[in-house]
Subunit: 328 residues, 2 copies
C-alpha cells in the first residue's frame, strides 16, 4: 500500500511537469497588460494586451503605462512588430508616445507598424515631430476602416481582421486568426519508404508518394495533421452589438468589455458600453469556447458582481486581471 | 523614581504628538511622484512632483503614469491649478494628455495653466483637438523662456521663477519662492490697548499704534513676526552648471538631478546630465539647506552608490523615492 502511495507521488510530479511543459509550449498566448477603463484607479491599468504567437508579439491597444507594464511582465520590447489600436480614446492609446520613444532608446532597427483608425496620424505625427527626431527606426501607420470586417494585416503566422463595434467614436475589435500549421512528417514512414528529401515539401502539401517501383503510398500514411488553427477575438469598447456574432462565431477565446453590471444598464447604453450580462450573452450566442471580460468601470472596487452576472449566462467566464496570461 | 519614569513616558506621547502635528501643519510640502529617468524600470517612475503650498497644488513635470501616481498618493486632482514643464522630453511630459482627460472626466471647471517651453503647443494642441472635444474646462498655455531667470507666475502664496539649465534641448528648472506671510497679532496686547479693528491691517503692515491719548505703542510690541518665507528649487535635467548657483543660493530645499555616478562622467557630459557628486557640489557651493537627488539612470538597481558619492560632498543628502513627501 505504502509503495503505491509513494509511486503515485512520484508520478504526480511528472503529470505536473507535463502540464507545465504544455503551457510553455503553447504558442498562442494573450498577455493582459491593462484591463481598466478610462478613469485611473489603483486596481487596474488602462487597456493593453500583447498577443504572443509563434515568437512574434502583436500589441492590442496601448493605454498610458503600457511600457512600464511590459517591463513588469518581462515582455520583450524587441519582439514587438505590430500595434493595433481599437479607437482614439486616450485610455487605449496614450501609452504610444512613451513606448515609441523607448523602442528608439533601445536601438530598434525594424519598422513598427501601427494599425489604427485614420485619426491616429493627426495625433501621432506632431508627437513624432517634436519628440522623435532621429529615431533609429521607422514608424508606419496603416489607417484602418473600423466600420467594416476587413483583413488588416497578415504574415506567415496570423491574419488579423477588423471587427466593427458600436461605440461613441469609430471603433473596431480585432480577430486574430492563426494560419494553419504544416502537418508533421512521420519520420518512421518516410525512412521506411526511403522518400527522397525533394518530395517532402509536396507530401506536406498533401500529395501521395509514388515509389520508384510505382507503388502509391497514401499521404495520410506519411503525415500527422497539425493542431487546428486557433482564433482570438478582442472586442472593446462597444455597446451590446449582436451584429459582431458572425465574425467571432466559435472563436477559441473572446475578450469582451464588461464596463458595467446590469444595475447600470442605462449608463451603459448612454456611454456605448456593455454590461457583464451582455458580454456573456454575446459569448453564448457566438458559441465561443472561452470568455474573458475586462474594461471595468472605476466604480467597482471588486469584480465579484461582474463575474457573477456573466457566469449566470456564460458559465466559466474569466475575469481579466493585470499580469494574466491566457493560453489558447 | 518609578513615578518619574511613568511621567516621562506620559509626556513623551505629547512630544511625539507635537512633532506629528507640526509635520502635518507644514504648509510647504514636496510630493515625489516619480524620480526615474527616460528608460522605464520597475523601480522608478518618470519625472513628476507636486508642490503643496498653502492648500494649492503646483505640479512640476508630468511623465507617463503621473495621474495614476496621484491616485496612489491620494493627491487631490481638484486642487491642481498650475503645471510647470521643465523641457519637452517625453519622460517629463507624456503624462499630460491622460491627466488633462481625467480632469475633464472628473468635471473640472477652473482653468488649468501649463507653463512650458513654447514647443508645448505644437505637442499638445493636436492632442486636445483629437481627444478633448467638449472639455469642461480651459487649458491655457503659458510659453516660457527657458534660457533666462524670469518670473513665470505668481499668486498670493508663491512666485515661480525659471532657472536656465544646460541640457540637450531648451530646459529650465523652477524656483518656488513663498510669499512672506503676515505677522501674527498678539491678541493680549491689542486687547490691553483696546486697539480698534480698523487699525489691525496697518499694524500687520508694520505701523505703530497711537492711542487716543497720543501714546505711541511700538509695532514690535503688538505683533510676532511670521516664519520667514521658504524657497524650493527644482533642477532637472541638466549638466553640471554652476551658473545656476546665484539663483538657488541658500534655498531651503534643492532637488538636483543625479543621473549617473562619477564612473559614468563621460556619459554624463555627452548626454548633458549630472553625476551625484556634481549635484552635491552645486548644493554645497550654493549653501542650500537640504539636497534631494533623483532622475537616476535605469542602469542602477540601487541608489547606494549615488548616495555615497553625494554624501561625501554634501553630507545628509536625501535620495528621492516615489511616494516621498518632503516638508520645508
Amino acid at each position: 500500500m505504502l509503495f503505491f502511495t509513494e509511486a503515485m507521488r512520484f508520478y504526480r510530479i511528472f503529470a505536473l511537469l507535463f502540464i507545465f511543459t504544455l503551457f510553455f509550449m503553447a504558442d498562442f498566448n494573450i498577455n493582459i497588460l491593462g484591463c481598466g477603463s478610462a478613469l485611473p484607479t489603483t486596481r487596474h491599468l488602462a487597456s493593453s494586451q500583447v498577443v504572443d504567437l509563434r515568437d512574434k508579439l502583436y500589441m492590442i491597444d496601448c493605454g498610458e503605462g503600457t511600457q512600464l507594464q511590459m517591463r513588469r511582465m518581462r515582455i520583450k520590447f524587441s519582439r514587438l512588430t505590430h500595434i493595433f489600436i481599437s479607437h482614439l480614446h486616450g485610455d487605449h492609446c496614450f501609452g504610444l508616445p512613451g513606448l515609441i520613444s523607448t523602442l528608439g532608446m533601445l536601438g530598434r532597427n525594424g519598422d513598427l507598424v501601427i494599425h489604427a483608425p485614420k485619426e491616429i496620424e493627426e495625433y501621432m505625427l506632431p508627437i513624432l515631430k517634436v519628440f522623435c527626431k532621429g529615431l533609429s527606426y521607422i514608424v508606419r501607420f496603416n489607417p484602418i476602416d473600423p466600420t467594416s470586417y476587413t483583413l488588416i494585416m497578415e504574415d506567415r503566422s496570423v491574419a488579423v481582421y477588423s471587427i466593427p463595434l458600436k461605440h461613441r467614436i469609430p471603433t473596431c475589435g480585432f480577430l486574430f486568426a492563426e494560419k494553419p500549421k504544416e502537418p508533421h512528417i512521420i519520420k518512421e514512414m518516410t525512412d521506411f519508404y526511403e522518400v527522397p528529401v525533394r518530395w517532402m515539401k509536396e507530401i506536406k502539401q498533401g500529395k501521395d508518394y509514388i515509389t520508384p517501383e510505382g507503388e502509391v503510398i497514401a499521404n495520410s500514411r506519411l503525415i500527422r495533421p497539425a493542431t487546428p488553427p486557433k482564433r482570438y477575438a478582442y472586442c472593446s469598447d462597444t455597446a451590446y452589438y449582436p451584429a459582431i456574432i458572425p465574425y467571432i462565431e466559435g472563436v477559441n477565446l473572446l475578450y469582451h468589455e464588461a464596463t458595467f453590471t446590469e444595475k447600470e444598464l442605462k449608463r451603459a447604453k448612454e456611454t456605448f458600453h456593455s454590461t457583464a450580462a451582455q458580454a456573456a450573452a454575446i459569448a453564448r450566442d457566438a458559441h465561443v469556447k472561452q470568455l474573458v471580460i475586462g474594461h471595468y468601470s472605476a466604480r467597482y472596487d471588486y469584480t465579484d458582481e461582474l463575474l457573477k452576472e456573466a457566469n449566470l449566462i456564460y458559465p466559466g467566464t474569466i475575469v481579466a486581471t493585470e499580469g494574466m496570461v491566457l493560453s489558447l
